[in-house]
């Protein structure tokens, strides 16, 4: 049924009123309260931030071609990795899928006209932009060299860079996350269409709900932590300074109380996207729907209990270390359950290899590796050796880039026809996906070896025996950069020259594919009434689903 839908009223897509052509002009965008337009605003903003973070990463990889440093002074290198981390974590990965795809899709997927608080949604974007401006200001006003972790007392007392501006930027952007999470939780609770019960929700919604919980419960803690850090730096008095009995490890506790769950802010939405992609491109309901749904929630909860595994070598109590270690293993279980269920979904499916599916399958493989190498770091004895080395860098890039960014790109490709009404050239997209996969592995796999050999991270110069692996990594990074550049070109190209997509180019299930592409401002002409489970590809035709 889904494949054969024609646009309602047989109006050509070009002339039908949709959210993109409903009004024109910069004001109509900057003052919009339409969740879809706000999603686009975020898309543009975070793409810009991604380029800044990516530029910093490129410079770092060029610099590391030579043991003595090929490009910049160590002071500059320190600023580069700090900017890379701060921008990529707080201004790209955290808002990536939630603020773009989440904003665009949550109301449509649950059959609502908008999020619960549209004005608050726009305010979130402005807050995000304000936070970004502070960080950009920190970059141009001398940079910041604390790393994205801002460990006291280096950041509070010793660094001579724009720490306050950067911390303030993250503090402000945190409120954007909080308000977005608040909006999503209320929307998912209160705005579902008739018949859209919790167990009929797409898994993307479950994942976004779990993510929102972390936004709400974790973000305020990083906000207060950076607030205290900023005050300590400005007033030269405070509570982390060991000179007056302060405990720098308390800063790390507070920091990781948010920042470990934040890892799941980045990966959970990716898991949600991948669930959608796997279902759509194998035309099957996700195997073990309830297990995948609940694993999202359990990941969100357990993620708050494991932060101490970042602190095994810091002088944290041995006993606390043991507790955090066992809980860290616990969080591996729901992740494993997801991977197995996704793989099982492929069984007896009808699998097509369009670009989004390639990203999704790449995600499963890379996330599996990223997750399993996490075991080395949850295990106390091996963590002692690997903590603070390139092994960590490789591990979290497998999860963050191989996982979250792959899923983000897959999601952008999958819903691009819905967002813009245009198709992109699938061949180019598949080529790009392959290049990204190859480039990614070449960049980050050598770093596992580097870490095991003992090369510490955040080193501007390094012993010569590590050079070969570093050169391999830098070579991979250049391939990866090409892989990220290609989609940017053809996606922009498709805005003007892409073939019209039609409402459901993939033959996928879900409310978003029942409405025209691009969707009208109000999403649904008539309120949908849901009568079937998500991903009901094989099910009997239950009409009433769409008008």
């Amino acid at each position: 049924m889904s494949t054969a839908i024609s646009p309602p009223h047989d109006v050509p897509a070009e002339t039908r009123t949709n959210y993109l052509n409903a009004s024109y002009g910069i004001r109509s965008w900057l003052l919009t309260v339409d969740h879809k337009r706000i999603g686009i605003l975020y898309l543009i903003s975070i793409t810009f931030m991604f380029m800044i973070g990516g530029f910093a990463a490129s410079l770092m990889r060029i610099h590391l071609l030579e043991p003595q440093g090929a490009l910049v002074q160590p002071e500059t290198y320190n600023r580069l990795f700090s900017i890379h981390g701060i921008v990529m974590v707080f201004f790209f990965l955290v808002p990536s899928i939630p603020a773009t795809l989440g904003n665009f899709l949550i109301p449509i997927m649950i059959g609502a006209r908008d999020v619960a608080f549209p004005k608050l949604n726009l305010l979130s974007w402005y807050i995000f932009i304000t936070g970004s401006c502070f960080v950009l200001f920190a970059i141009v006003s001398g940079g910041v060299d604390t790393g994205w972790t801002f460990y006291a007392p280096y950041s509070s007392t010793f660094s001579h860079t724009s720490v306050v501006a950067a911390a303030l930027g993250i503090f402000i952007a945190g409120f954007s996350s909080i308000l977005t999470g608040l909006n999503f939780v209320v929307t998912i609770h209160k705005m579902r269409a008739p018949g859209m019960t919790w167990f009929r929700l797409p898994l993307f919604i479950w994942a976004m709900y779990a993510t929102s919980l972390i936004f709400i419960l974790g973000t305020p803690v990083i906000a207060i932590t950076l607030f205290l850090l900023g005050l300590e730096r400005i007033l030269h008095v405070g509570i982390f300074d060991p000179a007056i009995g302060g405990d720098p490890l308390l800063f790390q506790h507070l920091f990781w109380f948010y920042s470990h769950p934040a890892v799941y802010i980045m990966i959970l939405p990716g898991m949600g996207v991948v669930s959608e992609l796997i279902a759509a491109f194998s035309r099957k309901r996700i195997f073990g729907y309830a297990f995948v749904a609940f694993s999202s929630l359990s990941i969100a909860v357990i993620s708050f209990l494991v932060w101490g595994h970042h602190m095994f070598v810091t002088g944290q109590s041995v006993y606390a270390g043991l507790i955090f270690s066992v809980l860290s293993f616990l969080v591996a279980i729901p992740s494993a359950v997801k991977v197995f269920n996704w793989t099982a979904t492929l069984y007896k499916g009808s699998i097509s290899y369009q670009a989004p599916m390639l990203y999704a399958l790449g995600f499963i493989g890379l996330f599996t590796m990223g997750g399993l190498t996490g075991l080395f770091l949850a295990a106390l004895a091996t963590d002692v050796h690997l903590n603070g080395t390139y092994f960590i860098v490789a591990h979290f890039h497998y999860v963050m880039v191989g996982g979250a960014v792959m899923a983000y790109l897959g999601g952008i490709h999958y819903w691009w026809p819905k967002i813009t009404g245009r198709m992109y050239p699938d061949l180019w997209a598949r080529i790009a996906a392959t290049i990204v996969f190859v480039g990614f592995n070449l960049t980050f796999f050598p770093q596992f070896v580097l870490g095991y050999l003992g090369m510490p991270r955040r080193y501007a110069v390094y012993p010569a025996e590590f050079q070969v692996l570093n050169v391999m990594s830098s070579a991979g990074a250049s391939i990866l950069a090409i892989g990220y550049g290609i989609p940017l070109i053809y996606l922009i190209w498709s805005l003007k020259y892409g073939a019209p997509a039609g409402p459901n180019p993939w033959g996928a299930k879900g409310l978003e594919w029942t409405i025209p592409s691009p969707p009208p401002t109000e999403n649904f002409e008539e309120m949908p009434i849901v009568t079937e489970q998500a991903y009901n590809y094989a099910g009997t035709e239950e009409e009433g689903h769409h008008g």
Partner: protein, 233 residues
Amino acid sequence: MGDMAAHGAVHDAHPPGFAHQFEDVQQQRDAGRLGMWVFLATEILFFGGMFTSYTIYRQLHLSAFVTGSHLLVVKFGAINTAVLICSSLTMAMAIRSAQTAKSKGTIIFWLILTMALGAAFVGLKLRFEWYRDYLEAIVPGINFVPHAKWGADAGQVQMFMCFYFFMTGLHALHMVVGLGILSVLVWMTAKGRFSPEYNAPLEISGLYWHFVDIVWIFLFPLLYLIGGRYPGS
């Protein structure tokens, strides 16, 4: 308004204050209330980070924290607690007045009274506590002169005062925001926006106000009364 026309036919009798994305008033009211509660949950964690740090350091440096605590005047803390409790009552009365169809004047009376009490709290805090602290040179970072008798504890006493100013300062900031919200509510009431059917802004602002009260209910004993005030404590 164009977007509202699309489903306006289905819901033609919307009360004032109804937003287009909702199906009915009840949904809107539930969403608003849940939204505020979720926001308060984030506030609990926001203050919670500070309370946790405070608890840890109190454990580590008990004697210095007791010394610091004794620099504060219990009288003003207790009076301010009472003032805030009164303002919580008047806030609850304002909401109740709106829900029971009392006159605009009654609602505004309770709201103004709430504002007056809130302003009194901030005023007392500024004049009799922070200003006095400044004169006594116990404001870290601005004017702080350690007493000789603190001896080796001076650093940790200063840390206690940091906590004191950060926590009460953040609380006072919330009070000021609350006063701003109340002013808007007065204006909306005067415009006749509220009725027994529609008073959600009043209700959810009330939740916020009561939450700020609760924070103080904990700040008072934690900051002013730790370790007791009896002779020899």
